[in-house]
């Protein structure tokens, strides 16, 4: 320490202590509320560098949205979806991760389908086309005509060059089933050794021990709760984006046949919650479990994840997590 500062040593020490106390009281915690990926984003973070980390997380999310949003014309997704057949489009590492992860799931379960977006648009469940009171629903002919486009043969991916090329006119990609979870994992990486809870539209990742409530698919309260201890959770439900047409509920999760998954069946899945270490996996698996139901049991358990599957009157659990039911439902 330089000589002229030495006589202020005690003052400097006092200021440092004071700063530490002020930090304890306010500066080392941050809370954020915003909108990303067309849904709510919230972040609670406490620990060293909480404020700067929270800002970093927000700019990361903004960047990711600029890459993945179908509503932004310059995004990688828009450039691919608007591309002509045979023209390679170069993509960044976020895209490569999401495409690769989606393909692994798609090859195990074709109903987990990143190529289903043309069908989502046909049903008007894309953010741009969505309406609460549609003038009609697609005809079975329209659905059959489009279904051939919604599979992996519509694109070719060149891993070395990081390019993707469309092979059929009208084919489109989207990572709506995994992007929120991927974003939550990236936020967790930035939050690092602070204590945090990040929630992107109900896809949650935390390194704390918190009680999480699962929204009731039909009523105003909660269907169940469980303790999340250092991990992630995501839920897919038929109540999250839907419309009623001639008294039938049509929801946004399109199955392999081109219709909203489970429609017309009795005791169909209305909500699927998946709990495990990574948010991207929870997010993707919740969509898969919603579509495929308990046939995914072995797959989910082998990955080390847990799930709660709800129909209107029954519940079924997969894995080790203990869910507390808050609404009357019978074990299936």
């Amino acid at each position: 320490m330089p000589y002229r500062l030495r006589k202020y040593k005690s003052t400097i020490a006092l200021l440092a202590i004071a700063a530490f106390f002020v930090c304890l009281l306010s500066g080392c915690t941050a809370q954020k509320e915003n909108v990303f990926f067309n849904t709510d984003f919230s972040l609670e973070i406490e620990g060293s560098g909480a404020l700067s980390r929270s800002k970093k997380i927000e700019s990361m999310l903004e960047e990711l949205e600029n890459t993945l949003s179908a509503s932004i014309a310059a995004s990688e997704i828009s450039r691919i979806n608007d591309a002509e057949v045979g023209v390679p489009v170069s993509v960044g590492k976020d895209f490569v991760y999401l495409y690769t992860a989606s393909m692994i799931l798609h090859e195990s379960f074709p109903s987990y389908n990143p190529f289903i977006f043309p069908m989502v648009e046909l049903w008007n469940f894309d953010p741009e086309g969505f309406t609460l009171s549609p003038s009609g629903i697609p005809s079975s002919q329209e659905i059959q005509d489009l279904l051939g486009l919604c599979n992996k043969d519509s694109f070719s991916f060149n891993e070395q060059a990081s390019t993707i090329t469309k092979l059929r006119t009208g084919a489109k990609l989207d990572f709506g089933a995994i992007a929120k979870g991927y974003a939550a994992d990236k936020a967790a990486e930035i939050a690092d050794n602070t204590k945090y809870v990040v929630n992107i539209g109900g896809t949650i990742r935390t390194n704390k021990k918190i009680e999480v409530a699962i929204v009731s698919p039909r009523n105003n309260g909660y269907a169940a709760s469980f303790v999340l201890d250092n991990g992630a959770v995501a839920t897919s439900g038929d109540y999250e984006r839907f419309y009623l047409y001639q008294d039938t509920r049509y929801h946004h999760i399109i199955g392999a046949d081109g219709y909203p998954a489970g429609i017309g069946e009795t005791e169909t899945v209305v909500s699927a919650t998946v709990v495990g270490p990574e948010a991207a996996m929870c997010d993707a698996l919740s969509t898969l479990v919603f579509i495929e139901g308990e046939t995914t049991k072995d797959f989910i358990e082998a990955l080390g994840y847990s799930a709660l599957i709800l129909t209107e009157t029954t519940y079924k659990t997969i894995g080790d997590v203990r869910f507390e039911l808050l609404e009357p439902r019978e074990a299936a």
Binding site: E33, N34, V35, T39, P127, V197, N199, V215, R241
Partner: protein, 141 residues
């Protein structure tokens, strides 16, 4: 406490026992800490009524905090009108295309949210009755 016990203690303790109870530095430390505590308390509570309250964010910035027990209508330039009535808050008008925020209706429970995605607009209820650390699943309306 007997005297033989006191003699066994290290010199550090006897030094502090013999020194004046308050040195100038002690008083300074106390003053700094108290000022910091008061400032921090004032800083974190200003404008926030106790009990259930609604926070409103536009584009990630907190633009207002309202007591849910004081009926009020707030009009935002971005084209959104919010009503607070009998402990509930609702978006009653919005110029957004899908009108999902208006269809959400009124909310009142801690942790409930209404968002208007096209306007990057968030209403969130804060309060003391926070039963859950987070909520998974999103009700459309």
């Amino acid at each position: 406490m007997n005297s033989s016990n006191q003699e066994k203690r290290p010199k550090l303790f006897s030094y502090y026992r013999q020194s004046k109870p308050f040195l100038r530095a002690d008083i300074l430390l106390l003053a700094v800490l108290l000022t910091a505590a008061v400032l921090a308390a004032v800083f974190s509570y200003t404008g926030k009524p106790l009990g259930e309250r609604a926070e409103i964010y536009i584009g990630g910035e907190l633009v207002g905090t309202y007591d849910l027990n004081q009926n009020k209508e707030i009009v935002y330039e971005i084209g959104i009108t919010v009503h607070i009535h009998d402990g509930e808050i609702a978006v009653t008008e919005s110029d957004c295309p899908d009108q999902l925020c208006v269809h959400m209706g009124a909310i009142s429970k801690t942790g409930d949210r209404i968002i208007c995605a096209p306007n990057k607009f968030v209403v969130v209820i804060r309060g003391e009755n926070n039963d859950y650390g987070a909520i998974t699943g999103r009700r459309q309306s």
